[in-house]
Amino acid sequence: MATAKFETPRIGPYPVIPLLVEGAMAHSKPFVASAQIQQAIGFPGELTEGWQERALAKMGELLAKYRSLRVYMDACVHCGACSDKCHYFLGTGDPRNMPVARQDLMRAVYRRYFTFAGKHFPKLVGAVDLTKEVLDQWWSYYNQCSECRRCSVFCPYGIDTAEVTMAAREIMDSVGLGQKYANEIIGKVHRIGNNLGIPEPALADTLQGLEEDTKEECGVDVRFPLDEAGAEVLLVTPSADFFSEPHVESLIGYAKVFHAAGISWTLSSKASEAGNFGLFIGNYEQMRKISQRVKDAAQELGVKRIVIGECGHAWRVAYSFWNTLIGPFDGLDPRYPVPQHICELTDDLIQRGALKFDRDRNDDRIITFHDSCNVARGSRMGDMPGGQFVIPRRIIRAVAHHFHDMAAGTTHEATFCCGGGGGLLTDDLLELRVKGALPRMEALKQVVDAHGVNYMATICAICKAQFSKVLPYYGFDMSLVGGVHQLVGRAIRLGEPH
């Protein structure tokens, strides 16, 4: 679709906190889901008379169901600690993209209807009625949050704007105002099995093609099994890994790791998607239902382990929420964590000396690593806190010679979102995505200039798709982004004498 013209932010000599530009992004709104899309996943088709009462009832329900929301509505003191932490604020200067101001869009309504001060002294505490105008602001600005939780790292009370955004989207969905991109995808995952809507025959065909390509490339029969009952590992990976560049290169990497380690594995046509957009719209039931497919597939196939491919939010849902949503996982091999990240699996094999690499094959690459927000701040790998930072970097160093981290304050738990997470990876939000990528692009530019970095590795399908799209806006080549297992796949020795 044609996006209105906008200016790509310029990368200056050093990052600066922008001055406020009120209303700079007020026009940014995603497409509204059709009645058909909404109803397919159990939401009302459109906004109808009486939506205010229903929205407030939903808000009351969520306040009673989520301690996070209840506490976060009260606890903010407007200290401003978060005000310069959001990539969308840094990229746009719109004050409503400051986490505190984004939260305040809901807090103002919460105060008006749920607190003594707001009921009796609304002006004093900034309380407002829930009008159509306020709803329009919600629609715009709660769709300018990628739920990356960077603000929650810096808030003295740990207030997590993602929780507020999820609640806002849940309330809007419940009155018939849904986001087309996210809700259409949720429909597809139920109907077809994955977010891209790839039916089983097409998937089987693709995997066969990959077997042929890989054979041609390295001369070894690396398999890409689908629906093979009795395999040890069920690999659940974002469906972008089947069709998109550079994602598919990482899928080839996983297959080579399994091959080299002699682990039997399979993909599932029923659970051919690791992504779980139920998270993005804050809907517990959807998140649970989408997760349940994986458990069902694992049971049907009789696998012993479940491994997740390179996908950030999928890993958060799987690592942090699966045990709650669809646990316990009886019948799986207790020697391995459930679920296990593909990086944990590969790293473990490397540490045990089970994989051999020719690091020279990655010699043309000068690599940096982009920590994906959901992995960095919403999950873990390995058995110590921060393993999610150590393990991917350890893999990269094991398979390549040249690695340079980006500046402190832009990596690890302070990493910047790619700008396309949280259900915003859609062309109707392109301006937001380009501008929101600015802080990452600034940090990248530094290592490109200082070290000649030409490869930014990441372990998230959304990051890969987002960067492929926005890198050119900042004058970088789109092939600068790729997966960690893309590097692994290139360097790994298969069927060669060690």
């Binding site: 506490v71 606890a75 200290c79 401003g80 045990n323 806190p385």
Partner: protein, 243 residues
């Protein structure tokens, strides 16, 4: 015994009741609201002891704020630490005999009043000088600072400039604790100081001052990161499993 003393006695009883019941009610609502999913901001401690340590660092040092904004941290920490010393010092007015630690803290608590005022002034200045903080400030944010600063300044004036009959004040306070109302000096500055303190107690449960109990109930800070090892289920979420 006069109307003034009775009036202030009633004011303090009412303010204390509102504070205790109001905050207690809020804490109960936080405690009773389930946290259905584990959402600690990672990297997070994997044990309960680690969580206690994380929260202790937040409460004592304002660890996260230190990482976010050094100026806000300097003023915020200075204000809160000074407030603690000032409160401890004031314990002498409701104790007889006075505990040794409270005797010890008198000197520090007295001069902490200046740090408290300076911290508040710094925090207030940010609301005018930093455009982002100015944008998010509501009238209530300014009034909270005005209230606290007025308490600090009136207290400092009573201590250093215009002494009040502190012995009588203490007798009044000790009397309140025994439900035996003693005469309160009719010193306007003292009455202002006491009124503002009562007001602070009253607004506490209906204002952003709830950040104090809120921190302890913040799931991103008070949850351990052990999702794979330990199943976390809230009642309403568990009910879905039975369907």
């Amino acid at each position: 015994m006069n109307i003034l003393s009775v009036g202030y006695a009633l004011l303090f009883y009412a303010a204390t009741a509102i504070f205790v019941i109001g905050v207690g009610h809020k804490i109960r609502s936080y405690a009773r609201t389930p946290a259905p999913l584990p959402i600690p901001t990672t990297p997070a401690p994997t044990t309960t002891a680690g969580v206690v340590l994380r929260l202790t660092r937040e409460v004592v040092f304002f660890e996260s704020l230190f990482r976010s904004s050094k100026w806000t941290w300097v003023f915020g920490w200075m204000f809160h630490a000074a407030l603690l010393l000032v409160l401890l010092r004031h314990l002498r007015y409701v104790q007889q005999p006075v505990w040794t630690p409270v005797v010890f803290v008198q000197f520090f608590g007295t001069y902490a009043g200046f740090a408290m005022a300076a911290g508040l002034a710094g925090l207030w200045a940010r609301r005018f000088l930093v455009d982002r903080v100015r944008y998010i400030s509501t009238p209530s944010d300014h009034l909270h600072l005005a209230l606290l600063l007025a308490i600090a300044l009136s207290g400092l004036t009573l201590r250093f400039v215009a002494h009040t009959d502190i012995v009588a004040v203490k007798a009044f306070m000790l009397g309140l604790m025994r439900l035996d109302i003693q005469p309160l000096p009719a010193d306007p500055l003292l009455l202002l100081h006491l009124t503002l303190v009562a007001l602070l107690l009253i607004v506490f449960p209906i204002s952003k001052l709830l950040h104090a109990p809120g921190l302890f109930f913040s799931p991103t800070r008070n949850q351990a990161d052990r999702a794979r090892e330990q199943r976390h289920v809230a009642a309403w979420a568990a009910a879905l499993d039975k369907k």
